[in-house]
Symmetry: C2
Subunit: 551 residues, 2 copies
């Protein structure tokens, strides 16, 4: 039996219209590095979004489904693009300015971007690549920066402000099906080609509601959010959309992401909330210790991207900034879990432990764990398996061109359509996720899993160990066993047997999980973003380049 409710689509357009109409006086403040920040109300941003849509359609010929890319910092103009492009029926494609040039070229060509909107300061990055961007017809430049390197290419170059100057201040936004593409973002996987996730109007709308729920970020128009997480990184965790839905003010750092300007903008603009990865916060903490600032306005900090070290969480607590862990990925829009402690733990000794988990699943994210043999594992807080998730803002495939069938690789999506996250962890009976490893790094030993991260953390807690990486190596009897690679501190002479006893006795690592294979290395190989590059270690072991001791 059908309901009698109205059939109104959930669209980015609706979020834009609401933000402009009801929260028109809320502000987007963009840091400029010198002098006054650029201040723009949601109402003004709405006018400029309409003008941008006119420019894209009337001057540049952008049509429904065309991909319009952005290569921009976090700023008001990028927010305007966030709304104008999906609302006009085109697809926003945010480009990650930290990617290697090769990947950037591959991604732009794969998405078949027709237009790129670029911040002037990023022209040196894009200009050398232009000859290889086969589908790009127009470059729109926003903000200061030398335009000269763009000259002479086949793409037409436009000044954003000139395009907008004479345009009508409203746009007759088209009706859009909520399942239509609104935005896309490529994951920068360490193996294989990057994979495109295409967000729908529906998924963005629902995700925005979730962000605004009290047990997620739950901000209101009394808040100002310092959005450090880049807009090219999973839609800045949904904040530009969520803030327009509820009138939360945004403070945008533009390219000033160093600790000193961040500390200065917190002191002078007084945000109440901030969102960023741990690395940024670690830097800010050092800055604040070196040069104390009044950061008392900032009481809520959302940390995601990778796990927040306990010491960092404690340090921020002491500054009056309450850290809230969240977990997600490009494929999850990204809000997958938020670490709000359950009611019974608030104010108890358990509370901090809950805050160190990845967090609790909201109603919109179903979760299950799959064990080494493909079996479902219980949500008992101890059984570790690969996390699979399902929900209306979770990817069910990857982009494969506008007319091709989407890609559903079997290592990424289950047969019944769930996303295989590649993360290994446990789920407690109360729905809290604790991640212990990446699936590709877990050690599969005799039908059981050994967490490489647990072993590494245990080893690194020994006073003589500077760094440690544990990788799986083949073993005739067990399938795989852990290899412990250890970087000793200068002058340390600890032997492997001592470390093994330390793991067993002090760190309570189960006997069957203790490594037999040990080696000392000069340093752990790292990826371009600073993560342990374990495939290098596995290769060195396979090639016999490591001097391994068997205990």
């Amino acid at each position: 039996m059908l309901s009698t409710m109205q059939d109104v689509p959930l669209t980015v357009t609706r979020i834009l219209e609401h933000g402009v109409l009801v929260h028109g006086r809320s502000q987007i403040t963009t840091w400029t590095g010198e002098g006054e920040p650029r201040r723009r109300s949601f109402a003004e941003a709405g006018v400029r979004a309409a003008q941008l849509a006119h420019a894209l359609r009337d001057d540049l010929g952008v049509r429904a489904d065309d991909r319009v890319a952005t290569l921009m910092w976090n700023n008001a103009e990028h927010v305007e693009a966030y709304f104008a492009i999906p609302a006009m029926g085109a697809v926003l494609h945010t480009l990650n300015l930290r990617l290697p040039a090769e990947q950037l070229v591959w991604i732009v060509n794969h998405a078949a971007d027709r237009v790129i909107i670029v911040n002037g300061s990023l022209i040196p990055l894009i200009a050398p690549l232009l000859p290889r961007l086969t589908t790009v017809e127009h470059i729109v430049v926003s903000g200061p920066g030398d335009r000269a390197p763009l000259a002479g290419g086949q793409a037409r170059v436009h000044e954003c402000e000139e395009l907008l100057a004479d345009k009508p201040t409203t746009f007759d936004w088209p009706e859009i099906d909520e399942r239509q593409a609104a935005a896309m973002c490529y994951t920068s996987g360490t193996t294989g080609d990057p994979k495109g996730v295409v967000y729908s109007h529906r998924s963005i709308y629902l995700h925005s509601m979730q962000v605004n729920m009290t047990q997620s970020m739950g901000l209101t128009d009394r808040d100002t959010s310092l959005v450090v997480v880049p807009q090219f990184h999973v839609n800045a965790w949904g904040l530009p959309h969520a803030t327009f839905m509820t009138g939360v003010n945004m403070l945008m750092p533009d390219r000033f992401l160093q600790p000193a300007p961040l500390a200065e903008m917190i002191e002078t603009e007084r945000p109440t909330h901030a969102a960023a990865v741990p690395t940024i916060w670690q830097g800010l903490l050092g800055e604040l210790h070196a040069k104390p600032r009044d950061v008392s306005s900032l009481t809520q900090v959302t940390i995601g991207g990778s796990a927040c070290p306990p010491s960092l969480m404690e340090a921020f607590d002491q500054l009056g900034m309450r850290v809230c862990h969240a977990w997600g990925m490009t494929e999850t829009s990204p809000l997958g879990t938020v670490a709000r402690p359950p009611a019974h733990a608030v104010g108890t000794e358990e509370e901090f432990a809950y805050r160190l988990t990845q967090g609790r699943f909201p109603a919109g994210v179903e979760a299950r764990l799959t064990g080494p043999g493909g079996e479902r594992l219980p949500r008992d807080g101890t059984s570790a398996g690969e996390l699979e998730v399902r929900g209306p803002w979770i990817a069910g495939a990857y982009y494969n061109g506008p007319d091709a069938e989407p890609l559903r690789p079997a290592d990424k999506f289950s047969e019944d359509g769930w996303l295989k996250t590649g993360d290994v962890g446990t789920i407690s009976p109360e729905g809290f996720l604790t991640l212990t490893d990446r699936a590709k790094d877990v050690i599969k030993s005799g039908g059981e899993w050994i967490s490489s991260v647990d072993l590494e953390n245990a080893l690194m807690s020994h006073p003589d160990v500077a760094e440690a990486a544990v990788v799986a190596v083949p073993d005739d009897r067990w399938g795989e066993r852990p290899l412990a690679t250890v970087v000793l501190k200068d002058g340390a002479t600890t032997d492997f047997e001592t470390l093994r006893v330390f793991l067993a006795e002090e760190r309570r690592i189960a006997k069957w999980q203790l490594p037999e294979r040990w080696t000392v290395i000069a340093s752990v190989p790292k990826t371009s973003v600073g993560k342990f590059d374990k495939k290098v270690l596995r290769r060195q072991y396979a090639d016999g380049q490591l001097d391994v001791t068997h205990l």
Copy 2:
């Protein structure tokens, strides 16, 4: 271009599963009047919901789309029915136990309810009607009460607890399209037959997310909500669904809605939030003045249904209970607006005025005003027109039987599908709604509207006036003009000219709005729920029964 996101439906089933799995230890506490309240965890309620679904399907033969009615107070068993019935694919039909018998019979027959679940204490209400309920095959009785009056009818009578006793504790809930009917509720309009609103799984899910947003009720698992608003009244404002989504505990008063037990349950169970209509709160206030209680836990009170008098709001503020106004109707699920003051007004003299408005529209509710001539009016805070709304949890039609086309009467729905609320008011530039009248009571004078409520409030502020009702009467020149009917206080001798000057000079009523026609009456006729019955006055005027003075 299609997105690559998963296509996961928004269903009541998902809310149930999430509440049971992630918030299983949250509680539904049902007041029993004597002794310990009945305490049940969400996990236990989930088991019982599964058992109820088995009973309905396996024992009673309920199939997809069948209507299963409830005639129940607010209690844990009613919450279980809220989830079991929609999740099994049937349609929950909540019956308003305060309706006149004739309407109840009409509604049950119109909905073609196959089953009624009834609280034992309500058997005296339903038993006499049974012979006229032509579609009802089964009566399921829950809780104490004499069963004897049910005997001998053609409907089979079942004990709820006996039905559940031997049933499996899980149910293989079917996949459901989110646009399918989940629940229905009839409006008790004062004119014409009652009209059925059929909520979809989608509308309930989205409305639940909205209720949980910080700028709506925004409760968490640290809260306990005292749900006084009946579950037969627009899904108890969405609270049973919203609480399962986020683990908010529920305190259910069952049939103990008198001020004394309400005060007692607040003191002993310490809810943090409560939701009810003003009448309930007025009674509670009197009780608390007569017999002070510790009600310090209760800091947030949602009031809707009709406007909260300023004096009541102030009185609750003084008790530490922060009143938050909300506006809605059966057709709006009901959350239409919530009166959270905007950031700039918080802590200023303006704040109270914002709290007295009906509230601000969330992103999910689009609003517009239509003037006397059908024209769109500006959102300027002064232009008054009929409020029309649009959104995914707003009705677009009324129920007309399972196989018939839905009803879309032109006085209730615009040609482009918006709901005509029948409420007249203004919208501020910031999206705050202030209602001034019901559309049927507004006076249409020379192409302009005069608010009957404004004139009444102004008249009733005169020290000699006990009550005043203003109605539209036909006028040759202006179409309609206001007739002021006044009840004077005992011994008062004020004349009409004095009142007219008082309106103009003291109350700043515009000259063209001042009534020319005046009459004194003994008392204002009232409806069964205590509202002014203006159609009686209009008829008395038309019949020449009133002694009218022309000024």
